[in-house]
Amino acid sequence: MLKQAFKALFGNTIKNRMRQERGQIMINSRSGLGAMTALILGLATIFSAGAMAGEQDERDESRWPAIRDFIFYENQNIQDGSEVIDLGVPYRALDAAVVPVTMKALFPQTKERFIKTLYLIIDNNPSPLGGMYKFNGKNGDASITTRVRVNDYTYVRAIAETNDGKVYMVKRYVKASGGCAAPVAKDQEAAKANIGRMKLKLPERIVAGQTTVAQILVSHPNNSGFQADPITLLSIPSYYMKRMEVTYNGDTVFTLDTDISMSTDPSVHFSFVPKDKGEIKVRVIDSKEKVFVKKWKINPVPDNQCSTPRTAEKKTQCVEG
């Protein structure tokens, strides 16, 4: 189980970086949970008393060293990422259940130099690794927008690992909102009703060879499993999306490994470059190993046809999907 968990999450290369004692923590954690949850339960074991609002100093970074050592080589040089990646996140989380996060790549993605892996870290969440996005340099732009839960006042980090193995980080501080904005699904039943339903939102005009931003929405409750019934003290089972794979005509656009930090009904804005007409395929795997697949036809217009503004009527001819 442990090997599978590491492999699923980090692949063989990074797996070898993991230190044995961290593995012990994972072995001690609950069995049958996904890799990310196992990782986080490991971290939760380390910080069992942590992450209570009001008990922390502002700008608390106490969890970061362990998170860092868990993900990267010990002594990994993590450079300032302000030239590589921009992180957009509201200073105050308006709704703790739905906090928009944008990670924007600041250099053109080419086969010579591209962001290979983009990590989204939320230090003080029960599950700090909010997502691990993998790219291959062919999808135009390694920028991602998504929505996460924020349990507490915390640093949010975007960490980019480029194809030359260098690691860059930017971070922003987020204040979670108090009151009634608990980081849970607002309507549990509705969230369960349409599990696996997907919606792809495309721009009005898709031009061949141009970087195109799309949004994929997946209906899923994404329950954390960290809550317990206060009377029975039995925990409510976790149930979440653990992986998303997006391809265009069979070529990978990006993959995402994630878990309970993503909001109910996970949403990801991503880029792709449709050279020819074809098909976007999204494959989602959840923590019960349920697989959901959906495909959308894309029919980009040639670059010369829609590159200039047109009337609304003519523009519709350039729309497909």
């Binding site: 609002a53 739905v98 928009p100 009151g179 509705a190 919606k199 019934d229 409510i236």
Partner: protein, 313 residues
């Protein structure tokens, strides 16, 4: 009492309470100020603030109804301290046993006072989905509210619901029947209202916000639907979860309905133009600013919640 007088009176009560609690909570030995809005129907008005150490979470309308044989408390308040004061108030009006505790939903400033009634061993009523909501939310609420209220985590106990309502339930207080009704997802996914048949009082709790900006923590479309349903109920008065009691029903619903409808309309417009969540948050609802207290604290959150609901249409 006229409507204006009632508003003024409630404001005086609220201000007095805050001042006294902030300066010296112990001077409130006789409990919380309440308004007997109808025979045997007592309402304490919370202040229009976010919960804080100064107001002890006393930010929602709470109260009790006295029947021939028993008392039902409707929402025990935002902290054990407020719950304790409410209990003292009940005791200053009647010696009848507090047999029932009715929780209208799981939000912390409505339920954290429940532990103050432990000695009464009341049956605790809530929506069929309330236990699940408490389970999912309590850890977060306790961790957040320990800081806000300045109390220890162990002081905040989530209530143990003993009786759930999936549709409708009649509760006999001794010659006085309360009708408890569970609603589909609206303000939350577990809203419960209470109707006192004797005085035709609709205790809408947080399905109705007045003066204070509504908070969408369930479904904005569902809330509009449930609001329509509530407006068909014939009632002499309505007790909102926040703001003054009103004898104008269903007219008292108009402001809330207008605000929610504007959010739906304008979020849909942003979605139609392929706009982002961030752009919706930046613009939607601004025209409603003059009409609501705490607008800046909640409007953008409401837009966020509405956006992620409506983008599936």
């Amino acid at each position: 009492m006229t409507g204006m007088a009632r508003v003024a009176w409630a404001a005086v009560i609220a201000l007095t309470l805050v001042a006294e609690l902030a300066v010296s909570p112990r001077v409130m030995a006789s409990g919380l100020p309440v308004d007997e809005v109808a025979q045997g129907v007592f309402v304490h008005r919370g202040v229009h603030e976010d919960a804080s150490n100064a107001n002890l979470g006393d930010i929602a309308n709470i109260g009790f109804i006295v029947g021939g044989k028993a008392v039902a408390v409707i929402d025990p308040g935002g902290s054990p301290r407020v719950g304790g004061l409410l209990r003292e108030t009940v005791r200053s009006f009647t010696d009848k046993p507090i047999r029932y505790l009715i929780l209208t939903h799981a939000h912390p400033y409505h339920v954290f006072g429940a532990s103050a009634f432990a000695a009464d061993k009341p049956r605790i009523f809530g929506h069929a989905k309330l236990p699940s909501a408490i389970a999912r939310r309590s850890a977060y609420y306790i961790s957040t509210f320990t800081g806000i209220l300045g109390v220890e985590a162990k002081a905040l106990k989530p209530p143990a619901v003993t009786d759930t309502v999936s549709d409708r339930l009649e509760l006999d207080l001794g010659g006085r029947t309360l009708v408890l009704r569970a609603h589909p997802t609206a303000h939350t996914d577990h809203d419960l209202t209470v109707f006192d048949t004797q005085t035709q009082t609709l205790w809408a709790s947080d399905l109705l916000f007045r003066e204070r900006i509504p908070v969408v923590d369930g479904s904005i479309k569902g809330w509009l639907r449930v609001g329509e349903h509530l407006s068909t109920i014939s009632a002499q008065r309505v007790v909102p979860g926040h703001g003054p009691v009103s004898a104008d029903w269903p007219e008292a619903l108009a402001d809330q309905r207008r605000y929610l409808e504007i959010l739906v309309r304008d979020v849909r417009a942003v979605l139609k133009a392929n706009g982002t969540l961030e752009s919706a948050v930046a613009t939607v609802g601004e025209e409603e600013r003059p009409h609501w207290l705490l607008f800046d604290d909640y409007n953008k959150r409401n837009v966020t919640a509405s956006f992620v609901e409506l983008e599936w249409e």
